[in-house]
């Protein structure tokens, strides 16, 4: 069992597909993760499940991963690291229901607009003809939203500021960075496909971008950010808030309203 706890989750699921099914029962979505290099033990601990739930999960995993002779209950995360009681030294121990710290709440709010764009991508693709100037422009406006708002504004806050407060070699952060790079690659392919007027490639890569971002945002909202909030000190939260505010000031007061209007315009276009 210990061997598998230290193994990357994708490898574990590849060998034991039932593990993926069990994790999904607890809203642990490693099956759809783009990278999947997190060790199984980290996957379990980082979700900060209630003690009884984690014990139940570990028993089910042990039933799959160990022989009858080996079978025993692996030790769950120490209670101190999961306590619902806030800890000392400015660190919180929020549950899934807890509020995000203000800077991470700002990132979650930015996700809302990105998700609105992602949700209309299938409808946009269904009604778009790459051979018309108007539709190509709509696609390129969508790419501009991804480039400017989702990537240079939002992802840059994560990569240039937030992630610097953590060990960026950790699997969960490497997984998020890999998602960002994969998203950028899909966007590059969309731009080239629009230029070639290659409808199939536009559909393939913009759809893939949408699917990738949906899972990515869910992982950040439900796993990464709550974990980060547990790790950040009060002082660091204040620093992040200040640095994010500086980014907001740098892009100007019209930046977010302009891109909100773009998303609203597309939503209106695709709404029957």
């Amino acid at each position: 069992m210990q061997r598998y706890l230290d193994t990357g989750i994708k490898d574990v699921i590849a060998e034991f597909p039932e593990v993926g099914t069990i994790l999904q029962d607890y809203d642990v979505a490693c099956v759809s993760c783009y990278v999947g290099t997190c060790a199984l033990k980290d996957v379990v601990s980082i979700h900060s499940l209630p003690l009884e739930t984690e014990q139940e999960l570990m028993v089910r995993l042990a039933a799959v991963l160990t022989s009858e002779q080996e079978r025993g209950l692996p030790q769950p995360t120490p209670a101190a690291s999961r306590s619902q009681t806030p800890t000392a030294s400015g660190k919180d121990a929020p549950s899934k229901e807890s509020r995000y710290s203000p800077p991470l709440r700002a990132l979650v709010n930015e996700h809302v607009l990105i998700k609105r764009w992602v949700e209309v991508i299938p409808s946009v693709l269904a009604g778009t003809d790459v051979n018309t100037t108007e539709d190509r422009q709509l696609l390129l406006d969508g790419v501009d939203f991804i480039h400017s708002y989702a990537d240079r504004f939002h992802h840059a806050k994560e990569e240039d500021i937030l992630f610097k407060y953590f060990d960026e070699t950790q699997a969960i952060i490497r997984a998020m960075l890999a998602d960002h790079e994969a998203a950028r690659d899909h966007v590059r392919q969309v731009i080239e496909a629009v230029d070639r007027r290659d409808a199939d490639q536009v559909i393939e890569h913009l759809s893939a971008y949408g699917e990738l971002l949906s899972g990515h945002i869910k992982r950040e909202d439900e796993i990464l950010y709550p974990w980060m909030d547990r790790e950040l000190t009060t002082t660091q939260v204040g620093e992040l808030f200040s640095k994010f505010a500086a980014v907001d000031r740098a892009v100007g007061p019209d930046f977010t309203p302009n891109y909100t209007r773009f998303v609203e315009r597309v939503e209106a276009l695709v709404t029957p």
Partner: protein, 158 residues
Amino acid sequence: MSEFGCGCPGSATMDLRDVDTSTDEATTTKAPSQLRQWPIQLHLISPQAPYFQGADVLLAADCTAFALGAFHNDYLKGRSLAIACPKLDQGLDVYVQKLTALVEDARINTLTVVMMQVPCCRGLLALASEAVAESSRKIPVKAVVVGLQGEILSEEWV
């Protein structure tokens, strides 16, 4: 633990003498003070004081330091302090001005409001929220609620 009287929860008499307080830590260690400034009362403090500049500030209701056994190590350590009682103190409008000056002029990093669970203590968070709302500059505010026996009932960002 027994309770006497009725009416305002903030004034209700409670006898906590039968609560077990004997722990190894309490009996064997002397906790050093984490206070790094003077004065501390909100009417007396100066937002221009060097220890407030860019600081993580703790705004504590008067009673919390007595109720919370680990007040110094868990909350005061590393923070600059202001104390007040939202129920009994006069000049609450001055408090709002002082807190606004801390946000605007001292450019404090964060504000942690520690208050008792009694309803009147919520007024301290209201003062802090009003001050931040009136400031052009925004900062993260955290609210900590302490139970009558010193337990942390909640701790969350506002």
